[in-house]
Amino acid sequence: MSMTEDTATPKRPSGFWSYANPVKFLGLSERVLPALWGLAALSLIVGLIWGFFFTPDDFRQGSTVKIIYLHVPSAMMAINAWVMMLVASLIWLIRRHHVSALAAKAAAPVGVVMTLIALCTGAIWGQPMWGTWWAWDPRLTSFLILFLFYLGYIALWEAIEDPDTAADLTSVLCLVGSVFAVLSRYAVNFWNQGLHQGASLSLDKEENVADVFYIPLLVCIAGFVLLFLALVLYRTGTEIRLRRTRALQAREARL
């Protein structure tokens, strides 16, 4: 266990890992956050307004193509948030930096909301395109499963009182869950053939997405990424403060 060694002269990590110290992390996020909020708001507003007001309709999909500016970025962030939680969980399990465990905790609700947005916009898009709100298409299905994993992860955090125990257990769940999420993806693929148009508007530009759609989409994706970063950073700060409050209260009570 990394924390047992030389407590008399604690190592002062420098560089990247030094931000694993909660106080330092709070300082950093305090400095970075205003700019991040601003950039996120800016690119979201620009991207969405551009996409909504100033792009033409697609010749096949009509105006529904505008949904892409919400659907694709949120779907991407839903997956990326889980990947980030996975990485943070690994860092916690291996190096036991509290900030990374709390960052994973802070990212989960953001991930759920992203998943929900992807699901809702997809469903709303599906009604005119496929004539149904929902189909058991592999991609949609695996997204639904991802949603369930998020719910379970959050519920487990909520249910356990001791924060370190909760961090350990949720990290293990995140690892195992990731493996099973991938497994489910293959299982679902095997189980049903897809409806979801991937290639028709593929981000792989070769296909066909014209620049008129592509550039505002990139701006929106940037906006979602920035918003995600800002939210996670801010929420991690909240978690750190809650934890510090708890620690101080526990120390008071023990006297």
């Binding site: 924390m3 407590t7 001791d162 620690a247 526990a250 120390r251």
Partner: protein, 205 residues
């Protein structure tokens, strides 16, 4: 075989409770742990038994040597005395449960379900389990709770026999067991507000 503790710090609920604890426990020796409620005796025993990691310090000679008896006995109400004891003997790779039954006068109860025993009889069964582990260091957390005078004497005799056979015992208790042994009061080692031993909350203080 000697258990050596050096500069140990143990934590519970994210905060250190005891720190700077050092002692040795040699074969044939018994050590009584004392301290007020909530001072951390149970936490110390659990750490030594390997159930939780220490915050700091070293524990040598504990691996696969310790038989731990906690506040609860791990008895199954729906198994008989014999079945309960045989199970633990099997888990620890032993076969003979007769000496354990004799030491705690359980032979007349051998076919009773554990759930129908009185509290004191249950406790005696829990202590008899120690004899079927074949382990050399006993870690006992308030072993004499709900025992009557006779049973306490049986227990003391069992501990003495264990020590004579080269075993050792670390016993947390509030009452006098009639054992001639050293006493370790944990009160001076209680963690203070400015203990900085890396408890899980430390980073936040």
């Amino acid at each position: 075989m000697t258990l050596t503790i050096r500069d140990l710090c143990v934590a519970r609920g994210g905060l250190p409770v005891l720190q700077g604890l050092s002692f040795t426990l040699a074969p044939g020796q018994a050590l009584i742990l004392r301290g007020p409620n909530g001072s951390g005796k149970t936490t110390l025993l659990r750490t030594l038994a390997g159930l939780q990691p220490p915050l700091a310090g070293q524990i040598d000679g504990a691996e696969e040597q310790i038989a731990y008896a906690a506040h609860s006995d791990g008895l199954k109400a729906m198994l008989s005395v014999r079945e309960n004891l045989t199970f633990w003997a099997d888990v620890f790779g032993q076969t003979d449960i007769a000496p354990a039954l004799d030491a705690f006068a359980l032979t007349p109860l051998i076919d009773r379900l554990a759930g129908t025993l009185s509290a004191g009889q249950k406790r005696r069964l829990g202590l008899a389990r120690l004899l079927v582990t074949g382990r050399s260091i006993w870690m006992l957390d308030e072993p004499t709770v709900s025992l009557d005078v006779d049973a306490v004497a049986q227990f003391a005799a069992a501990v003495r026999a264990h020590l004579r056979a080269g075993g050792a015992a670390l016993i947390a208790t509030h009452i006098d067991l009639g054992l001639e042994s050293e006493v370790l009061d944990v009160t001076p080692f209680r963690a203070t507000q400015d203990t900085r031993a890396g408890a899980s909350d430390e980073a936040f203080l």
